[in-house]
């Protein structure tokens, strides 16, 4: 059917077609979305799914294996692991979403201005970013959170801040490419003031690349925040956060009580996997060359 026919369809059909088209273009993105939506539902409506209170301890049921009563067993405090795993989804989204928003809000303006203005400001920023790249992100996050205070809010702020160079670099690179492209020069020649060039010409043309990265960066934030909790920095047990739960279960892995650490780990993997699938798929859709040979 030629594309002109599209306009005559009702919107549910159109949307359905678009969804089918996207999932044909990138099955990975579609799978990612499915996983993320599942976790989103768990996070938003965890009360519906939890069988027990996630932080109530049953002292008579410490370290019990999976059973009908406790699907995923109980941990060293006698808490229900199934309910804790479900509840943990709240932390995954609760940290990743604001952290990515902070990173975008800092990174995009910085990248825009550094790329467009150039000069000393740009030079200094790039040196700092280069310097930061010398360190593994987990070490950096760990050191900064340890040094600045170990609250949940602080973890979010630090992750957002540390991740902002990713967006700044990306936007800067695109701005540099666009600055020498004709349309920016043509905007200058038309007499546009700088703010118009930044907002009307550069921003709309750079934002797509940055947005495409958000899923992958969210995956990063979920992973790092769990790692911090695993190391006992930031969120502390018995908060039902996946990393903290793995930390609780670590010692039991060599004594056979595998369920304590395995289940939160699997949940963590799935959410991060879903986000990575989506991120990878978005790159596929945006870069026609990657899907050229279908």
């Amino acid at each position: 059917m030629p594309p002109s026919v599209t306009h005559q369809l009702t919107w549910p059909r159109r949307t359905a077609n678009r969804v089918r088209g996207l999932s044909r273009l990138s099955p990975t993105a579609a799978a990612g979305v499915v996983i993320i939506v599942c976790f989103g539902v768990l996070a938003l409506f965890s009360e519906w799914f939890m069988t027990h209170d996630p932080v109530s301890s049953y002292p008579d049921r410490i370290l019990q294996g999976p059973s009908y009563e406790h699907w995923f067993g109980t941990d060293g405090n006698g808490m229900d692991i199934f309910s804790r795993v479900i509840y943990g989804a709240k932390f995954g989204f609760g940290i990743a979403i604001p952290a990515v928003i902070i990173a975008v809000l800092i990174g995009i303006p910085v990248g825009l201005i550094a790329g467009y203005r150039g000069g000393a400001l740009d030079e200094i920023l790039m040196r700092i970013f280069d310097g930061l790249r010398v360190f593994p992100s987990i070490i950096l996050a760990l050191a900064v959170v340890a040094a600045t205070g170990q609250s949940l809010l602080n973890v979010v702020l630090v992750l957002g801040f540390l991740d902002s160079p990713v967006f700044a670099r990306l936007v800067r690179a695109e701005v540099l490419a666009l600055r020498s492209s004709n349309f920016v020069e043509s905007a200058i020649a038309a007499g546009n003031p700088t703010w118009r060039i930044l907002f009307f010409h550069l921003l709309p043309n750079t934002i797509q690349g940055a947005m495409a990265q958000t899923a992958v960066r969210a995956a990063w934030a979920v992973r790092i925040s769990a790692t911090l909790a695993f190391l006992g920095i930031g969120i502390q047990a018995p908060t039902p956060e996946w990393g903290a739960m793995i930390r609780q279960g670590a010692e039991f892995m060599v004594t056979g009580q595998w369920w304590v650490a395995i289940f939160p780990g699997i949940a963590l993997i799935f959410l991060v996997f879903g986000l990575n699938l989506l991120g990878d798929g978005i790159q596929d859709i945006l870069d026609p060359r990657r899907r050229a040979s279908k």
Binding site: M1, P2, P3, T6, R14, N17, R18, R20, G21, L22, R24, L25, I285, A292, S293, K294
Partner: protein, 323 residues
Amino acid sequence: MNLLKITDLQTHFVFHDIDNYRREARALNKVNLNLNRGEIVGIVGETGAGKSLTAQSICGLLRPPAKVVGGSVLFLGKELLSLAEEDLNDIRGAEIGMVVQNPKSSLDPLTRIGDQLVRIHQTHTASAISVARSKAIAMMHAVGIPDPEKRFSAWPHELSGGMAQRVLIAMALMNEPKLLIADEPTTGLDVTVQAQILELLKDLVRRFEMGTIIITHDLGIVAHYCDKVAVMFAGEIVEYGTVTDIFRRPGHPYTKQLLASTPEKLKLNEAGSLGGQPPDLFNLPEGCLSQDRCSLASDQCRTPPPVITLETGQTVRCHFALQ
């Protein structure tokens, strides 16, 4: 027997768009072309007319989603379209030489010039390295590369654009091909260098008696360096004949338009500009493909135009060719 005989060659782009519709762009529509030894044929046309696609279809160098969907390409009586990749490899670079548009990015940046020449020779012949080497040096000399012994061990990035194009020509000639396809061979080069390359090509083609296809959008090159010309429009060859016939008495309305819009012939502020859009390859009109921008178009043009051979021998795909 013709050196190359292309019959009804059809190449389409087939893919699914974002709304899950199957889209098919009919990029080449029944291309017909015959070429004899020692002839230089120019293929001209505007962007998207399918010039390069024709060359790539002949040699099996299409990239997905482009695909040959019909027709036949006979090279010395052999059907190229049904050959397996390995058998095509025996022909490409040996019997069919290619010169492409971006010589500097096309050479392998990690192999010395001489070694690339030797490599293409040894791939297709069983000759010893010393033989291949002296042949390479002789060929570099033949294409006018000064100091070939020294340049033999030069890296591609050390060459200027013109020099790199000479190397590509030497590569194409290493195995003395019977057919040479030059796809926009001078497009990236300066005019003064373009003149050098074209003179060289013409000279070598005569010397080796190759059949040659030069793909270009520059009518000047066609006028001065080609024997015959094929005018392409929307994936069709609308007119084919000798350069003299077509430049003096163009038979197809589109050819006339094209010739009239060269800077030399253009009379500004006289006839209204022709302009017009190239047809949408996804949605080609029934019948004649150029009907939307042709001043002669009538109801008759909704039916496919016949290919008419004029008394001069040029073939024209138009209902009104004889008028």
